[in-house]
């Protein structure tokens, strides 16, 4: 071939290539754009079925499911072009595409394209009757579906399937007229009946037409019983403006065919597609695949969504993801899950005015993949007043950009904090453990060495519903291996964290207690005895074997001293360790994330979790060691003081500074109290006493129909604390048996009386005996008090007053008269009847 010819040919090819987008933009018959890498076209042939000299049928031999499949494209508007290029011969405007996977003469899928007044439409038919094919007939060169009078899916787009640049137009609508395969095994299945009524709608929106969708909106249209909490609406929002890539598995039409890798991507990473099961000839799924997203959010709600009506999503009101690292590596570093129910929501906890349960998980170390380092669990009662519009759907959510600050800027009723200390696990939804209210399957608790899934959340539910004043502390007794958790029910603050200079860890400010499950055999338990900061660490290790051993160590941080007890020794160091190196809210943006990361990097420690001595020795100060000794019952005392019991075993030794004056002290147990200096006294057993005062709740008289307030004070004049006692209050009145009116567990600390107040409503007038007793762990009564009270009758139950109260005003006399007349009249009638009986004669 001559060079000039080649040049001309090349020029022509280049022109065609350059002009093909222009052809699309002009709205000329849209050439099929998609040809996935897995699909091969083996050959194209055409047939004139009507004998008019124009092709009516284009047969494409290809491979998209098996090695040899066939697609029959029937012309829909007499505009089929003669060509051996399927993209020229066919279109997605009015042709009917019949997919014969396996080329066995049986249609597995039929898509009927047509145009509408403002765009294009695709009606998709799959196998409705279960015979493995989609039935159709050909009449006058046109294919007509006989399988069903209604498609299973109808997709409409405006103005065309693709944009001028050939990319997918993300403004389209999918309406479903029956269940898809994946829905048939879901709870929605009974309600998604095939027919002419739409059951599901999916909207894909690119409002600014830049080829990047802003959001997808899914909503259930089928009627379902109100009582069932089903997923009825979802919104996925592309805050990161990710540009979806076309499906590499597209089969001719860009929306048909899903790559198996799509589900492992983020949900805006790939274009929405129809996932088709060629073997069953059914649509498996439609819409976007993938989960989650680096920058964006989604909503899953149990309520129906209607246009133009302010929609309050419940359940997962927002599941938001943020690229805190700013690295655009497709993995988010912050995940916020906001579970939300308003008080009148059928499916919620009925908390007034609403309940918020927040899971705020973030990755600080930047470990690749969906690994999270910290999580805050927060509970509040806050109504959402803001609205974000999604087209015709105004939705009540906290705007994406404001959500992190909304979490960190508000105060919360109670909180949990979880930190990953081990290798953790990959999760697309943050750290599940220690959800404040919910019962999550992943919330593994370990009790008695046996792992079990599921934590009892009934107590948490009852607490947030106000049914019980008892906070669900038992729900947070144990933790998953490799994680550390803390909780606080005395919260009411913003979700501050602080960094402890002692153990070099981030902790929850105002935490009450916590636990770090190191490896299933060893754990560290935390306690905040003085209220705001963790000031007690207890390490326990269980070593299994022929003889099981338990190793325990404890570190207590008073304001001026650090006290260590472990093995057979006690170490006291006089060192004023500040309780917190810095306090911080969790990061809400890249800058804060970086700052926190830097602080943690600088401040982190290298000692082992139970290495309390090393923790203690970070702080300079005189140190005293007492060997053959054990420290217990440490607790803060009045002011900045503290006290503890020290067991000195025979042969105990003292070394180091003389912080405790043990001169002349023999073996035994002693109580040391520090209030500027140490004082010592021998430990004496608890000397418990009770006082009981009963007074009327209102007024001055003890009346039978008014409740009494019973105030009990338990005092301990010994030097040893008495813990875990049972305070039982009973009453005894007349012939009735003794009735228990209260039972609670109390700690009666030396020098710190315990008080309890309860109410009792006497059921009868007269003398009554109130008895309060303290029982030890073995059930023995260690203290009791009796009080006699005289209960006055209160309101009189005299018959006359009851008669007055029970009869309406002014009707006393008439009623009484009737009662007197009645027997008279009755007697008269009976007498007359008896006397006039005909048998008497």
């Amino acid at each position: 071939m001559k060079i000039a010819t080649l040049r001309s040919l090349g020029f022509i090819i280049a022109v065609i290539a350059a002009l093909s987008p222009l052809v699309s933009w002009l709205g000329l018959p849209s050439a099929a754009m998609a040809q996935g890498p897995g699909m091969r076209v083996l050959g194209v042939s055409q047939q004139d079925l009507t004998g008019d000299g124009r092709p009516d049928l284009t047969v494409i031999d290809c491979s998209f499911y098996t090695d040899h499949d066939r697609v029959l494209v029937y012309d829909g508007a007499s505009d089929m072009q003669a060509s051996d290029d399927w993209s020229v011969a066919t279109d997605f405007l009015n042709d009917t595409w019949v997919f014969d996977a396996g080329a066995d003469g049986r249609a597995k899928l039929i898509i009927q394209f047509s145009t509408t007044t403002d765009g294009v439409q695709a009606d998709i038919y799959d196998d409705e009757d279960g015979d493995g094919q989609v039935s159709y007939v050909v009449r006058a060169g046109r294919a007509m579906v006989t399988e069903s009078s209604h498609p299973i899916l109808r997709i409409t787009a405006a103005p065309n399937w693709t944009r001028p640049d050939g990319s997918l137009n993300y403004n389209f609508r999918m309406v479903q007229y029956g269940p898809l395969l994946t829905q048939e095994s879901s709870s929605l299945s009974p309600f998604l009946k095939r027919g002419s009524k739409p059951v599901f709608e999916r909207l894909f929106v690119d409002a600014d037409n830049d080829g990047v969708p802003e959001y997808y909106l899914y909503r259930l249209l089928a009627e379902t019983p109100k009582s069932q909490g089903l997923e009825r609406a979802s919104i996925l929002s592309n805050e990161g403006r990710a540009r979806p890539r076309p499906s590499p598995a597209a089969i001719f039409w860009p929306l048909l065919g899903r790559d198996s890798d799509d589900s492992h991507q983020n949900y805006f990473a790939t274009a929405p597609t129809i996932d088709y099961d060629w073997g069953l000839a059914r649509i498996r799924d439609a819409g976007s695949a993938g989960y989650p997203v680096e920058s964006g959010f989604h909503i899953n709600s149990l309520r129906y969504m209607q246009p133009h009506v302010r929609y309050v999503p419940d359940f997962e009101n927002t599941m938001a993801y943020y690229d805190l690292a700013g690295d655009h590596d497709t993995y988010p570093e912050l995940h916020i899950r906001h579970r939300y129910y308003e008080a009148d929501d059928l499916y919620g906890e009925k908390v007034w005015p609403a309940v918020n349960e927040v899971r705020y998980s973030w990755s600080q170390t930047g470990q690749p993949g969906l690994y999270w380092d910290y999580k805050l669990g927060l509970v509040g009662r806050r109504l959402i007043t803001s609205t974000v519009a999604f087209g015709d759907f105004p939705v009540a959510i906290v705007p994406y950009a404001e959500l992190p600050r909304w979490v960190t800027g508000n105060t919360w009723d109670f909180a949990t904090f979880v930190a990953r200390e081990g290798k953790g696990y990959s999760s697309s939804e943050g750290i599940y453990e220690w959800a404040p209210i919910e019962n999550k399957d992943q919330d593994i608790v370990r009790a008695d060495g046996m792992a079990s899934t599921g934590a009892d959340s009934l107590s948490a539910l009852a607490y947030v519903q106000g049914l019980t004043p008892d906070a669900p502390r038992d729900k947070f007794a144990f933790m998953r291996d490799g994680f550390r958790g803390e909780y606080s029910f005395k919260y009411g603050i913003q979700p501050y964290l602080y960094f402890s200079p002692i153990d070099r860890k981030l902790h929850l400010l105002n935490a009450e207690r916590g636990v770090w499950n190191i490896d299933g055999n060893a754990e560290v338990r935390y306690a905040s005895l003085s209220g705001r900061y963790i000031d007690q660490w207890t390490y326990t290790q269980r070593i299994a074997g022929p003889q099981a051993i338990t190793i325990t160590r404890q570190l207590n941080a008073a304001g001026t001293h650090l006290l260590y007890s472990g093995g057979d020794e006690v170490v006291i160091r006089e060192a004023g360790a500040v309780p917190s190196l810095f306090e911080t809210l969790p990061p809400t943006n890249h800058t804060e994330w970086q700052v926190l990361g830097a602080k943690l990097g600088v401040s982190g420690g290298t000692f082992g979790p139970g290495d309390f001595k090393e923790m203690m020795r970070q702080f300079a100060g005189p140190e005293m060691t007492v060997s053959h000794a054990r420290l217990r019952d440490y607790r803060p005392a009045a002011g900045n003081g503290f006290r503890f019991a020290l067991e000195l075993q025979p042969g105990f030794g003292v070394s180091g500074a003389s912080l405790l004056d043990l001169t002349g002290v023999g073996p035994g147990t002693y109580v040391f109290t520090y209030d500027g200096s140490f004082s010592l006294q021998p430990l004496t057993t608890p000397k418990l006493s009770l006082k009981l005062v009963a007074r009327p709740a209102r007024g001055t008289d003890l009346l039978v129909d008014s409740p009494l307030l019973v105030q009990i004070e338990a005092a301990n004049s010994g030097s040893a604390d008495a813990r875990g006692l049972k305070l039982i209050v009973t009453t005894h009145q007349g012939q009735a048996t003794e009735t228990e009116i209260s039972r609670q567990t109390v700690d009666v600390l030396a020098g710190a009386p315990a008080r309890a107040t309860l109410s009792w409503s006497p059921a009868a007038a007269g003398s009554a005996e109130l008895r309060a007793r303290l029982e030890g762990p073995d059930g023995a009564v260690v203290a009791q008090v009796l009080q006699q009270v005289n209960v006055a009758a209160g309101r009189s139950d005299a018959e006359r007053t009851l008669l007055t109260v029970s009869t309406a005003e002014g009707w006393h006399l008439p009623a009484l008269l009737l009662l007197l007349v009645l027997p008279f009249v009755t007697g008269l009638i009976v007498r007359a009847a008896l006397n006039s009986s005909p048998w008497k004669a």
Binding site: R381, A697, D705, S806, A833
Partner: protein, 567 residues
């Protein structure tokens, strides 16, 4: 002769026209109803009355009997709602007025079918009057018919159906009257079905049982009852047609009846319900009868005294019936062969008295005697089965309390007939006995009225309320929206509110649960305080509760919140 003449004139003096006797009985019923109305001045509430109030409200507001799942529907029949709607439209009667006042006054009508039926059974006006008076002093009958439920209509319709049935049997030789009575019977039975299909079904089962009993006796004494075969045939046709009408009603005319039947119960429950006439809503509001006796009255002796009329009727009629049964089981003497040996042998007065007292056993029996005997036996059998079911706890309903009123409707004529015909009132002792009887019935009437109105001095189950309590609940409905309010130890206030005001229960939920931890507001009134004393149950309020409302008669106390989640 002169004595007999004086007696005859005296009897004639006391003999009244039928209309007068009926009118007098209507007056008695009216007095009972009026007392029931005036005792609480309309300020009362009761569970089943509330059920029918809700159904009536719904029918009036929607204009339909079963509009949809949100509408309160009485599944066992629509008759009551239809009557309520009719009275509301014709007389402008509101539902509260009908339930609180009309419910008592409308019971008066049962006197008429009762008297007519008893006259057919007994064969005399005085006997009918006596039996009706005995019926009117039965507290187990008075209580259900005085309240706002279907029973004032259904019990009366049962009496009417029986009357039409027996009357038609007596009118066999007058075809036109017979046809009219048969047609009237089927209309009445359909009316009964439409008020309560389960009670109607139990009545139909009783008809079947009576048929069986009649056939048994007839089979053993054919010669004594020559006119029974047509009666037995008539009962058979009645039974069959009634079953068909019931089927049509349940499965075609009124679909809620079918839903309740098929959805709620097992086959055993259904069988028991058909037998006893217990419906869906009655099922859930009833409690164990023996528990109710023990806790429902100030003492057991008081309970037995107030229900003395029932016990006397039960024992007396039972003895009479048994005696009659034994007599019929023995070999019969031929008609006319009345023994005269006692007279011939000049027996003593006691023997004469016994002879005459039992002479009716040897007289040629009338067809209606057998029918009375058979229906009594059938209703009595129903009571026995109900007692057995109650004792076994097979159903959660108070069956015997439902079956006993129907039993009393047949026991009254058995006793009345015997008292009217067999008691030797002419003897000196008989006059004293007569006086004791009419005075006794008079006193029993008072006791029965006190029992049927749950007189609070004697009963622990109070029905009345104070206006201040309603005012407190209205305040709660506005102020404690979407929350729960403890309104007392029982359903007294909830039912009273529902009957009178129909306050939307969704605004504030009234509860009587003592253990519902979600309840933080408590109604405490003078009545509730007295109830607390009477029942020896402490008020569930805490000593430091806050008084958030007080109108002098009632307070609302609010438990202090202990956590941020408690309001």
């Amino acid at each position: 002769m002169a004595t007999m003449e004086r007696e005859r004139r005296k009897n004639a003096y006391w003999e009244l026209p039928a209309r007068t006797e009926i009118a007098a009985l209507l007056v008695v019923a009216l007095l009972i109803a009026s007392y029931s109305m005036l005792r609480y001045g309309g300020l009362w509430g009761e569970a089943d009355t509330n059920v029918f109030s809700a159904a009536s409200w719904a029918a009036l507001e929607t204009g339909r009997l079963a509009e949809g799942p949100e509408q309160a529907v009485y599944p066992n029949g629509y008759g009551y709602q239809a009557v309520a709607t009719f009275l509301a439209n014709i007389a402008g009667l509101t539902v509260p007025a009908m339930q609180l006042y009309g419910s008592a006054l409308l019971m008066v009508w049962i006197v008429v079918p009762a008297w007519l039926l008893y006259r057919e059974f007994i064969g005399s006006k005085p006997g009918a009057t006596l039996a009706t008076a005995i019926l009117l002093v039965q507290p187990e009958l008075l209580f259900p018919v005085l309240r706002g439920t279907h029973e004032k209509f259904t019990r009366g319709l049962i009496l009417l159906c029986l009357y039409l049935l027996v009357r038609s049997l007596h009118s066999r030789h007058r075809p036109s009257r017979f046809a009219a009575l048969v047609l009237a019977y089927y209309l009445a039975i359909f009316a009964l079905i439409s008020f309560n299909n389960l009670l109607a079904t139990s009545f139909i089962m009783v008809v079947g049982l009576a048929l069986g009993l009649s056939w048994l006796v007839f089979h053993g004494n054919r010669s004594a009852f020559p006119s029974m075969p047509p009666a037995i045939r008539r009962l058979s046709y009645t039974l069959l047609v009634s079953i068909v009408l019931t089927f049509l009603f349940i499965f075609y005319a009124y679909t809620p009846a079918r839903h309740d039947l098929l959805v709620l119960w097992s086959f055993g429950d259904q069988l028991a319900a058909w037998f006893s006439g217990i419906g869906g809503t009655e099922k859930v509001t009833s409690i164990h009868p023996y528990t109710a006796v023990d806790t429902g009255w100030v003492s057991l002796p008081v309970y037995f005294t107030l229900s003395l009329a029932n016990w006397l009727l039960l024992l007396g009629s039972g003895a009479i019936w048994l005696w009659q049964s034994i007599a019929w089981m023995r070999p019969r003497k031929a008609l006319g062969d009345e023994a005269t040996s006692a007279d011939e042998n000049n027996p003593g007065p006691l023997r004469v008295w016994l002879w005459r007292g039992t002479s009716w056993l040897r007289r040629s029996e009338r067809e209606s005697d057998l029918l009375l005997w058979a229906f009594y036996g059938a209703f009595a059998f129903q009571v026995i089965v109900s007692i057995a079911l109650d004792v076994s706890g097979a159903l959660t309903s108070n069956l015997q309390h439902r079956a006993f009123p129907s039993f009393t409707m047949l026991a009254a004529p058995v006793a009345g007939k015997w008292l009217a015909e067999q008691m030797p009132w002419q003897a000196v002792g008989g006059r004293l006995a007569q006086a004791a009887l009419w005075m006794g019935i008079a006193v029993l009437g008072v006791l029965s009225v006190l029992k049927s109105t749950n007189e609070p001095l004697l009963s622990n189950k109070w029905l009345f309320y104070l206006p201040g309590e309603v005012a407190a609940i209205e305040w709660a409905a506005d102020t404690l929206s979407q929350r729960a309010l403890w309104s007392g130890f029982d359903e007294r206030m909830a039912t009273s509110i529902g009957i009178r005001y129909g306050i939307d229960p969704r605004k504030v939920r009234l509860t009587m649960s003592m253990v519902d931890a979600g309840v933080r507001d408590f109604l405490v009134s003078d009545v509730i305080r007295r109830q607390s004393l009477r029942l020896s149950m402490p008020l569930p309020v805490e000593g430091d509760s806050l008084i958030t409302y007080d109108n002098g008669q009632a307070q609302i106390q609010h438990r202090r919140p202990r956590t941020p989640f408690q309001r």
